[in-house]
Every structure is written in structure tokens, then in C-alpha cells.
Symmetry: C2
Subunit: 230 residues, 2 copies
Amino acid sequence: MEEKQDFIQNLSYDSVIFGFNGTQLKILILEYHNTGLFALPGGFVQMDENLEDAVKNGVRQRTGIQDIYLEQFYTFGGLKRSDPAAMDKILTQNNLDKEQYSWMMGRFISIGYYALINYEDVTPKPDELSDSINWYPIDELPKLMMDHEEMVERALRVLRHNLDRKLVGTNLLPHKFTMKQLQQVYEAVLGVGLRRTTFQRKMLSLDILVRHEKLFQGKAHKAPYLYSFK
Amino acid sequence: MEEKQDFIQNLSYDSVIFGFNGTQLKILILEYHNTGLFALPGGFVQMDENLEDAVKNGVRQRTGIQDIYLEQFYTFGGLKRSDPAAMDKILTQNNLDKEQYSWMMGRFISIGYYALINYEDVTPKPDELSDSINWYPIDELPKLMMDHEEMVERALRVLRHNLDRKLVGTNLLPHKFTMKQLQQVYEAVLGVGLRRTTFQRKMLSLDILVRHEKLFQGKAHKAPYLYSFK
């Protein structure tokens, strides 16, 4: 554990890491030792460290995931968002000195980041403060501490808004994919079923797809076209 | 001037206030007393104050503009963004004690906010630190201090991205407007000329407009339709 003077005081970051395997959307959640407290992976920014580096390094240390690209989505600055009682419990259960770490019980403004990765590609590892770190389906999250549920909601809104752009360059779809595979991504992220014809028309009108050869698997006349992102 | 202990240390906000009068897009810029330093209006967050309240109150004090709605767009956290020499100059020219205000020369993470208002509706007033506060056309900005030019660029990108949504509920257009008036807003904000037919088709396809009666001014057969936002 690092010391108070290393960090910018009253400032933190939190990360909403979305995992997707082609059909289901999940979020990475930490559980603190013997507290029943669930939280998004987060941390602090050192005085001599770029914000982006702090987030990248901190998320790697807390989750064990290497080289994840996180994007800022919102900074949470309400006075009511802090929860000194929960921080107190975490310090107690980790046998940390409360005087030394009293700065953790103050008011924090927290910068939110999100990422979208394939949860089948990574095995998260809990850090020293946490019992476990696990992927939870977005509709089966445990109760989260502080304002972390609001953070998840807002990150999900941003992800939905930027989905067309976010998918390009990720490994969430194979390089070439069918319209049906693309529709499954949208349905999982948006949390609703979509009409095939309407979805196809919308996607083609966005002008972000290149059409390739057909994918022959069974009956030739039913073979779907393959697409990739421009 | 308030004291160090009132504020969260190493944290600030800055505001990009876009002004629009129907044809031209401008930005509100402060000039500090006898320094030649131009900057976006910004400030600090008190320890016992919600971030949103700090921004709202601070912008009112620095610009004289009442009740402006500002929206967060990005938090700037690079180590290189601070400029202690410029802060030193501002303190000197305002006869402020450098020891007392040495905290202003440290590293700051700054939360960016933007707003879009009609510059003909307001008369900005400089605060005690500033010589002047003026509207500058976006293509005729003075050189700005620190990373404020990057802030303007990023805010402009967000404004352009969200323009459809931002215009609803503002007073930048009359309640009922012609397609030509709407096109002038887009052209000024995007900084490019648009084809009338393409623009009209795109706007109608967004499904955000209601068509009303025609605006009769001269020859009846040339009268344009009036629209409002849904």
C-alpha cells in the first residue's frame, strides 16, 4: 500500500470494464475481503503521474488484466457520493492503520473510465485488498457500494451511444462476420431484441461495413454474406 | 480571494462557453490584468461543495452570466498541462502573495464543461483578476494559456457531435424556424457550407422536427415551411 503524500488528495478514478463474448454482456466487479462490499475496480492518481497512466497501471494491478484500453466517460463530483463507513470497514478487514489511511475516508471526486473487451480472452486476478474479482451479467449485478451503480448506468448509456464506433478495432467480432453476429452484439449491449430487416437496413445505411463473399455452411441458397468494418 | 484550505487541492474546472447569434459561433475568453495571458473562465471546487455547484457559481462570478447550463465534456489530467510561470505572472500582476497562493502553481487535473448560449442575450463582466472578458469568433481566438486550446478543440468536437440534441430547448433559434435558419446554425458550428437538399433530407430523416404552416413574406409560391423541435 502506498502513502498519502504520493497521491492527489480527494481524487480517484473508477473503471467499468464491459466484457462481451458474442452473446452476453458482463461487468467486472471486485469483492473486498470479509466486508460483503462489491465495487468497480478503482484507485488514485500519484502527484507525478499522468491521469491516463494512473488508470492504465491501476487497473492492471487491481484486475490482473494487461494493456486494456480505457476511455473516459464522466467525472462524478457530488458531495453525497462518498461513504466513509464502507471505507472504514475495508481498512478494518485488511488490517490497515486507520490513522495512516484516514485520507481514504474523505470526500472524493472520481473520474469514470470504461472499456469493452472479450471476457473469454482474459482471466482477472484479485489484488491484495479483494477476495475475488468476477464477471457479472449486467442484469445480475450484486449491490454495489457508493455511487457505483450510477457509474455503471452512465457507462452503459455511453457504450450504447458509441457502439458503432466502439466495435471497430476491437476483437469482439471476428474480422469477417455475418449480419446475424453483428445483430447479436447489438441485442446484448442494448438489452432488447431487434427486427432483422430493420437492423440490416440501419447498419447498411451507416456506411461503415464492407460486404465480402458469402459464408457457405449448409444450403447454398441460404448462405449469408460476410462483412467487415471499413 | 479564497484560501488554500477551502479547496480540493490540485483540481480545477474550465469552461468553454460557445455563443451563437444565428450566424456566427464565438467563445468567451478572459484576459488577465497586465499579463497578455488569455484563458477560458475556470476555477476551483470547495471541499464541501458539489462539483456542479462549484462550476455554476464559479462561472457566474467570473463572467457575470447568470444561470448558465454547463455540461461536462472531458477531464484533462496530463502532467504537462500546468504552467507555473503563467500562474506566477498572474499572481504578481494582481499583487497576490506568492507564498499564500503557492498551491495555485502546482499540478492540476481540470474538469472541462461547455455551454451553448445566444451571445446577444448576455453582457459578460470581467471578475477582479481579469482586464476583460470578450466573445471571440472561433477562427480568430487569441493564443490561449496552458492546454486551453486543446480544451476548445475537444469541446467543439463534442458540440458538433451532439448538435442535434443540444439545439433542442435552447434559445438559439426562435420556437418556429425555417430550414434555412436551421442550416445556418449547422454551417456556423460545423464551419463548412452544406448543400441545401442534402441538409434538408438529413434533418427530416432524424425525426426530431415538426412541420408547421408556411412563413409568408413575399411571393406565396416561394414561402418556406416553419418547423419546431418535437
